[in-house]
Each structure stands twice: as C-alpha cells, then as structure tokens.
C-alpha cells in the first residue's frame, strides 16, 4: 500500500494562502499611503480563516474540473476513437494538422479541432422550440455531471470535499440527467426528439433502481456512505484472506460479482452506450433528443456523454475494484489505471453488441436486474453476517 501524491485541499489551501499573502502585501503597501488607509481592514478580512477556506474551495473545484473535464474528457474521447478503431480494424484519427507528408501522429488534437469547428457553427434554434428550455438543457446536463466531481475522490487526498454521505450525493447528482434529457427532448418540439427524450426517461428510471440496489449491497458491506471509507474498507474486510497477500483481495468485486455486473449494466445504461443507446438511436429516431442541437450546444451534449462515462468508470472502480488500492504505485495512478480499465470494458461491451429494443430493455431492467439486485443485497447481508459470526 502506497500513499497518495496529492492533497488537493491542503494544496489549494496553500495556494490560497500564498495568493492572499501576495494580495495583502500589495494592499498593505498601498494602504500605507495616505488616503488609502481603508484598504488595511480589507487586507485583515482577507486574511481571516473563512475567506482563505472559501478561496481554497474555489481553487480545488477549479483544479478538479480542469483535471476531469478537460484532461480526462479529451483523453476519453480520443481513447474511445482509437480503441474503437482498433476494435474495428481501423486506425482512428491519425492526423489533425494537415501535412504534405505523413510524419506520424496520433490524432490527439482531433477533439480540439472538433470543438473549434463546433464553436464556429451557428446556434440554430428551431422555430417551434421553446428557446429558453432548449438552451438551458445542455448547461443543466453538463452541470449535473460536473457536480458529481465535487464529492468524487481520486485518492485519500485528491478530493474536493470529503462528505460523510458522499456516495448518496454522487448518485443523486448523477441521476439528475434524465430530467435534463427529458427537458431537452420536450423543448425541441420535434417528434424524434420527443420519442428520444421519453425513451431516455423511461430507461434511466428503470435502470437507476438496479443501480441503487447494487450500491446498497456495497454500502451494507462497507457500512458507510463515504466513498473514501468504502475504499478503505475494501482493503480491510477479511474475506478470502489468502488473496489479501497479493493486494487485490478484498475488492468488492469478489463477494459482489453479481452486484458488479448489475452496476456495470446500469452504468452502461446511464451513459446511453450502445446496447442501451436507443434514446439517441441513429437508425430509429435519427439522433433522438440530440436531433435539433447544433454547434457547440451539440458539442456540449455530446461531450457530456464522456464526462458521464468518466464518472461511471470512476464509480465502478471506486465501489468494486478497490478504488486506489494497489501495490507500489501511488494511489492516484492506481485509480486512473482502474478507471481506464473500466472504460475499456465499457467500450468493448458497447461496440460488440447490437442495440436492444426499448421493451426488451425495460424487461431486462425491471424483471431481471431488480430481482437480481435484491438477491444481491441478501448475499451482501449474508456475507456481513457470516463475517460477524466468524464463519469465514
């Protein structure tokens, strides 16, 4: 077990203190002049604990969003393109900047080029659409997912807010998206978008219940709603002790394989990935609830999918794959590796199966996953009970 590299809040606090020291130095310098004496109380106020903490919070959130939404979002989109291309025996994006001669390249700048192209496009509002709702829906979608990042830990230190019931907050924020999708679908006043929005709402509602059931089982095992606590539990619970020697022993995927499976499926559904992508099925409802969006609004609702993928992969790694626990490497690196591994599983599943029909999806959700989820909770309780009784 190795330590964590980043202490996000401590670092942010240090940055905030540093910034405020500089500002205060300037302010006091000016304040020593005649007529500018009123700046000294301001400098005093800036130096107080609540202000420093607030600024540290803002810095931490900025770092977190830059880290997740800029760095990993771009990498995710790029990686999806490349991995899918390899899955399909293609190369994926290779050249972003035009050259006369091929001198190598991986196409990483393709996302930025796409974004630049989308920003240049006109923002078209359909005549019959409700403009206010139409324009607010993408922002709503993005923000619901970004809010998750506040409580999502990347290591023991790399977390903005160590909330006691963080998991509850994450899942609550994560589940707000269907509302925005329904809003987007409805506001466009388009038959395809309407069908897509309704499908999204129906599917997400039916898949959030199995997701919550799978999480409840984990919570029963861990005995906590705090993500950091859950991860730490995964290195301590003494099930299958022989495997503990190699460091992966107590990941909840072992006692909770069924739960892992349910949660993975529910997460695929939450991201609208291919077996569950009928809200935006191209061959059926053109692009579903995305159909009327153009320009950067389309880019936002399109990129939001990968942000959700990122959060979903992080949640799977957090709840079932032992979070940041692993030998030798620092915690952050382990966690990122696990996130990318889960992401590869997502890609692999979603590009290997056809899309399922809506009635079949709802059947699977309500008739199979929910009973399985309940059974899974029973299993978790059994494991905990057996553990308490010393049976294993």
């Amino acid at each position: 077990m190795s330590g964590h590299l980043v202490d996000l809040f401590g670092g942010s606090n240090a940055i905030a203190v540093f910034l405020i020291t500089i500002i205060n130095f300037i302010l006091r310098g000016i304040g020593s002049l005649p007529l500018f004496g009123f700046l000294n109380p301001l400098a005093d106020w800036l130096g107080t604990e609540p202000v420093v903490t607030s600024i540290a919070w803002l810095i931490a959130i900025t770092i977190m969003i830059t880290w997740a939404a800029a760095l990993h979002l771009l990498t995710f989109i790029w990686l999806e393109r490349k991995l899918v291309a390899r899955l399909q025996d293609r190369r994926g994006p290779m050249i972003t900047l035009r050259k006369d001669r091929y001198i190598g390249g991986t196409g990483y700048l393709q996302q930025i080029a796409d974004a630049l192209k989308l920003i240049q496009k006109e923002n078209i509002t359909p005549k019959a659409a409700d403009p206010w709702m139409f324009h607010i829906a993408p922002a709503f979608l993005i923000s619901t997912t970004i809010v998750v990042l506040v409580a999502l830990p990347f290591s023991e230190g790399f977390v903005v807010a160590n909330v006691p019931a963080g998991l509850l907050f994450i899942l609550a924020a994560f589940s707000l998206a269907p509302l925005a999708i329904l809003l987007a679908g409805w506001a466009q006043n388009n038959k395809y978008a309407m069908i897509g929005g309704m499908r999204a709402a129906a599917m997400m509602m039916s898949y959030e219940i199995p997701m919550i059931l799978a999480v409840i089982a984990v919570v029963v095992l861990a005995g906590s709603l705090n993500p950091i606590e859950i991860v730490n539990q995964q290195s301590q619970l003494s099930i299958l002790a022989p495997l503990a020697a190699i460091g992966i022993a107590n990941w909840y995927i072992i006692p909770q394989f069924l739960g892992f499976f349910i949660f993975l499926l529910a997460m695929l559904a939450e991201q609208e990935r291919i077996p569950f992508d009928f809200p935006e099925a191209e061959e059926e409802v053109v692009h579903g609830w995305l159909v009327e969006y153009g320009g950067m609004r389309f880019g936002m609702v399109y990129g939001f999918k990968w942000l959700r993928t990122f959060v979903a992969a992080a949640l799977v790694a957090l709840l079932f794959l032992g979070g940041w626990h692993g030998p030798v490497l620092p915690q952050e690196i382990w966690f990122i590796l696990k996130i990318y591994f889960v992401f590869f599983i997502f890609i692999w599943i979603s590009w290997s199966v056809p899309r399922i029909r809506i009635d079949q999806i709802l059947n699977i959700g309500w008739r199979k996953l929910i009973p399985l989820g309940l059974f899974n909770i029973f299993l978790a309780v059994l494991v905990v009970h057996a553990n308490a009784q010393g049976w294993i």
């Binding site: 399909q88 077996p275 059926e284 590009w351 056809p354 899309r355 009635d359 079949q360």
Partner: protein
C-alpha cells in the same frame, strides 16, 4: 401519447439507405400503419434505354442498383441475347456466372454491413465491409472496376480472366470462409442480436407469394424458389448447389438465408473455375434486332426481369424492368404492423432495400 402520429422515416434518414420515405403511424412506440413512398431517385432508366443503341444501356443497368450492378447488366445482356437470338460461347457463360456470383457476395456483404449498422452494431458494419473489399478486389481484378463494372456483354463478357485469377480466388475464399464462420458464431451467439431479429417482421409463405416477394426474402419464408434452380440460365444447371431455405419468415431467417448464400456462392464459383472451358468468351452480336426478348435471373435481391421489344432499328423500342425490391416493399406495411419503431430498422435492413433499383 394517446393520439396516433405519422412519422416520416425518410427521405433523409439514417435508416433508409437512400432516398425513400417510410411513413409510419405510431401509437406510442408501436407501429399501427406504414406507408412506403418511393420515387425520389427516379432516373427514367427505361426511357433512357430507348434512345441508345443496344450496347450503351449496359452502363445504365450497372447504375440501376449500385450495390449489385453486375447482375443487372447481366440480366439486360441476357434479354438482348434472347431478343437477338444468339447464344454466348460456353466460356462466356461461365465467366458470367463467376462474375455474378462474386457480385452476389459483394452485395450480400454490403447487405450484412448495412443490416448490422441498422441494428446498431457498427463493428459488424466495418468487419463486413472489410471482407467485401476483398470480393471487390477480385471483381476489380476480373473486370477492371470495383463497382459499376460494365462487364457482361450480349454474347459473352468484356474480357477474359487475368492470369493468376484462380489462385487469387481460392486464396481469398479460404480466408473468407474462415472469417464468415467467425462472424456467424459472433452474431448467432450474441443474445442481443437474436433478440433484435428473431420473431421480427414475420412474413408468412402464403403472404410472401401473394405479394410477389422473391429471392432471399421468399426463401426466408420457406418457399424453395431459386431461379438458378427452377429456370436455370447460363450454366447453373451444370453446377451443383443448394438453395438456402429457412422456414421461419422473420428477419433472422432472412439473415440466415443470405449468410448461407455467401457459402453457396463460393461453392458455385469454385466449381465454375474448375470446369471453366477453353475457347472464345464472346461472340459478335448484330447491331439491329426485331422482336421481343426477356430474361429473368436470380438477382441478389430477388427475381430480376428485363423485357425488351426491338423494332428493327439499333435501339430498343421498349425496355421494361421488374425490380424485386419494389415489389417486396409492398409487403413492408404488413410486416411492420404491430412492431415497435425500433424494428423498422431491423425489418427494412433485413429485406435489403436498394433504392436505385426500386425507383429505376
């Protein structure tokens, strides 16, 4: 949604594979009625043929169905041969059979690709196109072009086989057999694929016959109707092959029929290469003809029929084209009724729509 709404799936819709419009009436998510609208791609091929001499419409027929161009040029050339009452030399017939079966493989490859993309399996789309590329390479080697080959001629074919073609074919077929077996396993082991295709778009045998459905769609409904066997043209009566017939009549049966035809086509081509006689591959045709001639062949999509009247000049007086999918589309509303809107893609993808040929 209590009220029923019409939805236009077309003319610009990812499902349609071209310019046509399928209007579906929805009750919620269920299809109550469907109404195909064609004619967006009408180019007047029949009329264009009337102002060209007998040789020039071959390129028009190539463009009739851009997925399976060679077979249409072939049926036109057969009709002209019947009109002029000439008989191509045996080598020409064999070469036509080889080219048509290669084209059938390419067409079915395109069908598989589009069908899987309709189901949302883009990976299968690219795999299928990758294998089709090999068949197109063979066609290019044989005819000079990948698509729109302009290869069959009245009285034979355009050119002889290039040297080494036979080895190339056998090498490619060894590879394709292995690959397609892999795809078969990949698809038929996938529960999601079965969920989307089994029991969808059921077309009973009697209905299929009454609607005039032909080709793989009819054979998927359990009728053993294959013009290569029933009314053998060229040299199909000398070759040993088995029409692929399945009873169920749903999209899955049609998928299995077409998938089986890949392997049957490979068998036919290999036999034809084994028995390929030496000699001329083309004879000269007269320029002018009088009377009438028709030919029907087993197109990858069904029964292709061309009927030509010649009035003694060097141009046809009238050319009539019977395109199989145009007829098959009339059965589409019946197949769609009661299904979900998501099944539209599965059903229309399953019957292998080619708009160029529908609209002529």
């Amino acid at each position: 949604m209590a009220e029923q709404v019409w939805i236009n799936m077309g003319p610009q819709h990812p499902m349609t594979h071209g310019l046509w419009n399928l209007r579906v009436k929805l009750d919620g998510d269920t299809i109550v009625d469907a109404d195909p609208e064609m004619g967006y791609l009408h180019r007047g091929v029949e009329k264009l043929c009337e102002v060209r001499n007998y040789l020039k419409p071959i390129v028009l027929m190539d463009r009739l169905c851009y997925v399976s161009s060679l077979t249409w040029a072939h049926v036109y050339c057969k009709a002209v041969e019947n009109l002029m009452d000439i008989e191509p030399p045996p080598r020409g017939k064999y070469l036509n059979v080889i080219a048509c079966e290669l084209q059938r493989m390419a067409s079915h490859g395109m069908w598989l690709a589009a069908f899987l993309a309709d189901l949302g399996l883009l990976t299968g789309f690219l795999y299928s196109l990758r294998e089709r590329e090999l068949v197109l390479d063979l066609l290019q080697l044989m005819t000079g072009q990948r698509m729109n080959q302009n290869y069959p001629r009245p009285g034979g074919v355009h050119n002889d086989l290039p040297p080494g073609f036979e080895d190339e074919v056998r090498r490619v077929f060894r590879y394709l057999r292995r690959q397609y077996k892999g795809y078969k396993k990949f698809l038929e082991d996938s529960p999601t694929f079965l969920m989307r295709t089994q029991g969808v778009g059921v077309l009973r045998k009697e209905d299929a016959i009454n609607y005039g459905v032909t080709g793989p769609n009819l054979r998927g409904s359990g009728a053993r109707v294959d013009l290569r066997e029933l009314d053998p043209y060229d040299v199909y009566d000398e070759l040993d092959f088995e029409p692929v017939v399945y009873e169920e009549g749903d999209t899955y049966a049609r998928y299995k029929v077409r998938f089986g035809e890949f392997f049957e086509s490979m068998r036919i081509i290999e036999q034809a290469l084994d028995r390929l006689p030496q000699g001329p591959f083309r004879i000269k045709t007269p320029k002018r003809a009088e009377g009438e001639g028709y030919a029907r062949t087993e197109d990858p999509r069904g029964e292709a029929l061309i009927y030509i009247i010649g009035d003694g000049s060097d141009r046809p007086y009238r050319v009539k084209i019977r395109s199989p999918i145009f007829v098959t589309l009339s059965a589409l509303p019946m197949m769609l009724r009661g299904h979900r809107i998501a099944d539209v893609a599965s059903v229309t993808g399953g019957i292998d729509v080619c708009v160029g040929e529908i609209d002529k």
